[in-house]
């Protein structure tokens, strides 16, 4: 996105050419990849022609002028259906754009369309029986999970069907597909980006954020998206910095806490070794890396279940009463299970949330960022149910969300970046976690890592 924005602004390339090239690539590849639910060909080309005319007229342009991106299909878009990955909302056409969509449009970005996702964002595998399972582009022979719930966002960015995308993250739904698809995804601090006009999964855990090919691209998108919004009471009035300025490439003296115990011990051996190698490389570049354990991680699963189960069921209760047969059966089962969470469980979950928040704050008191694997495994086959982790067998769903949920509970910002590849050629992701509202340092660390390595520049072979 950063390069495209510069080339378009300097008239080195036409936004019409860029949009047309993306639409041609979508037409050629997305029948197999299934990353889009709705492609907005005509609207995108119309917007691109307008952007080109504005440039030629010499008027002021925004930081993303003419740059195409795509949106997870839970962001409201005026006049364009927003399904939440469901059949139930298959014909739902919002009257207004989500706040974030408005802001990206003001920055000049052009929407290519709406991206596939897990129905109502309730699941980390990236599967969708209504619109087809998005396919991980890194393996042409085996149909592997893209990760979810922002599956289409991960696939579209990895496969070059969008230069950047919007995702949302309630238990890892930005970072899991970013990890499995080999891209960069940022879950900002809770309250940094408005959720107004975004279909909720669990209000108190939902985060909206960018998914791109680099930390620099995330910085560019976040600057355009972030900030107070009267339509979302959780948003902060703290000023939004220019995150790109923070990307100095300098990590000398940056204090990095490598999360062991629950995190590294739980990762599959190949993932653990890859992240440990990355930590050594960061230390070699001048970062001050030490080991740290986070307390209370054994209670994260219960707290997340209590909070997400209750909030998700509350949101979908009426649909579950009247249109249960139209849900993905797997999603319906999980929603129904939320009926057995009691009020006491919910409050206990919120108490554990305070414990986890304090534990993460404590670890960051003397460190700038924490480092952990984003997922304990690389992309499994779509029919996988059990996987082997560093500390024993695990249900694949629990495995995928394991390292992400703590930071949805705590609200801390976290950025997943590619940090290597398995022997089988699948991407491995690691996440930098920072202090609340200090996305600048998180992105600085992620960008510095990407200046040291080329993992984020590698592309799957397609077509």
């Amino acid at each position: 996105m950063t390069d495209l924005a510069r080339m378009i602004a300097t008239k080195a390339i036409s936004p019409v050419e860029v949009v047309r090239a993306h639409l041609e690539r979508i037409a050629a590849l997305d029948g197999e990849l299934r990353s889009y639910i709705t492609v907005c060909d005509d609207a995108a080309l119309t917007a691109a022609r307008a952007a080109e005319a504005q440039l030629m007229a010499g008027g002021p342009v925004g930081p993303l002028h003419g740059v195409p991106y795509a949106l997870k299909d839970l962001y409201d878009t005026a006049g364009i259906r927003t399904t939440g990955g469901s059949r139930i909302l298959g014909d739902r056409v919002p009257a207004a754009d989500a706040t974030v969509v408005q802001r990206l449009a003001q920055a000049g970005a052009i929407s290519l369309g709406k991206l596939n996702m897990v129905e109502f964002a309730y699941g980390p595998e990236g599967l969708n029986p209504h619109y087809g399972h998005a396919r991980n582009p890194w393996d042409r022979a085996v149909h592997r999970m893209a990760g979810g719930s922002s599956s289409g966002s991960g696939v579209a960015v990895a496969a070059g069907l969008a230069s950047g995308a919007l995702g949302s993250d309630t238990g890892g739904s930005i970072r899991i597909p970013s990890s499995l698809c080999g891209i960069t995804g940022l879950k900002p601090t809770y309250g940094r980006v408005s959720r107004a006009g975004v279909l909720p999964l669990a209000w108190s855990m939902d985060h909206a954020g960018p998914m791109t090919r680099s930390a620099a691209d995330c910085a560019l998108m976040l600057r355009a998206m972030a900030g107070y919004d009267a339509a979302d009471a959780s948003t902060s009035v703290l000023p939004v910095p220019d995150y790109s300025v923070a990307l100095t490439g300098d990590i000398k003296g940056l204090r990095v806490g490598l999360l062991r115990g629950f995190f590294l011990d739980g990762a599959a051996p190949e993932v653990r070794a890859t992240v440990e190698t990355a930590a050594r490389a960061l230390a070699g570049a001048g970062a001050v890396v030490d080991d740290v354990n986070l307390d209370h991680m054994q209670h994260v699963a219960g707290a997340s279940l209590a909070i997400v189960g209750s909030e998700a069921l509350a949101y979908h209760a009426e649909r579950l009463r009247t249109r249960a047969g139209e849900f993905d059966p797997d999603v319906a089962r999980r929603l129904r299970a939320g009926a057995y969470v009691t009020g006491v469980h919910y409050v206990r979950g919120q108490q554990v949330r305070a414990l986890v928040r304090d534990a993460v704050d404590g670890a960051l008191a003397r460190r700038d960022v924490l480092l952990a694997p984003s997922t304990p495994i690389a992309a499994p086959p779509v029919d996988a149910r059990q996987v082997e982790l560093g500390d024993g067998p695990s249900d694949v769903r629990a495995a995928l969300i394991r390292f992400n949920r703590p930071f949805n509970l705590s609200g801390h910002p976290s950025c997943s970046v590619p940090c290597g590849f398995t022997a089988g050629g699948l991407p491995v992701g690691m996440q930098f976690v920072g202090r609340p509202f200090d996305e600048a340092t998180v992105l600085r660390a992620a960008d510095a890592w990407q200046r040291l390595t080329d993992f984020h520049t590698r592309r799957p072979v397609l077509g």
Binding site: Y190, G191, M205, S236, G302, L305, A339, Q350, A354
Partner: protein, 61 residues
Amino acid sequence: MNDEATDLEILRRGAQLAGFTWSDAELLEIRPLVMAGARVLHSLEDAPVADMEPATHYRTV
């Protein structure tokens, strides 16, 4: 009453308390998930929360 019938009756009453009326087939379908979830939720009682005030989420100025 056998265990399965007991489980179903408990599940049915729980669903009714939450405002739902589900068939036996629907209850049987979710039973493994509910049982597994109950074990995870029960573990919350081991959390050292004492009288800690519940957090909602980060709120700032």
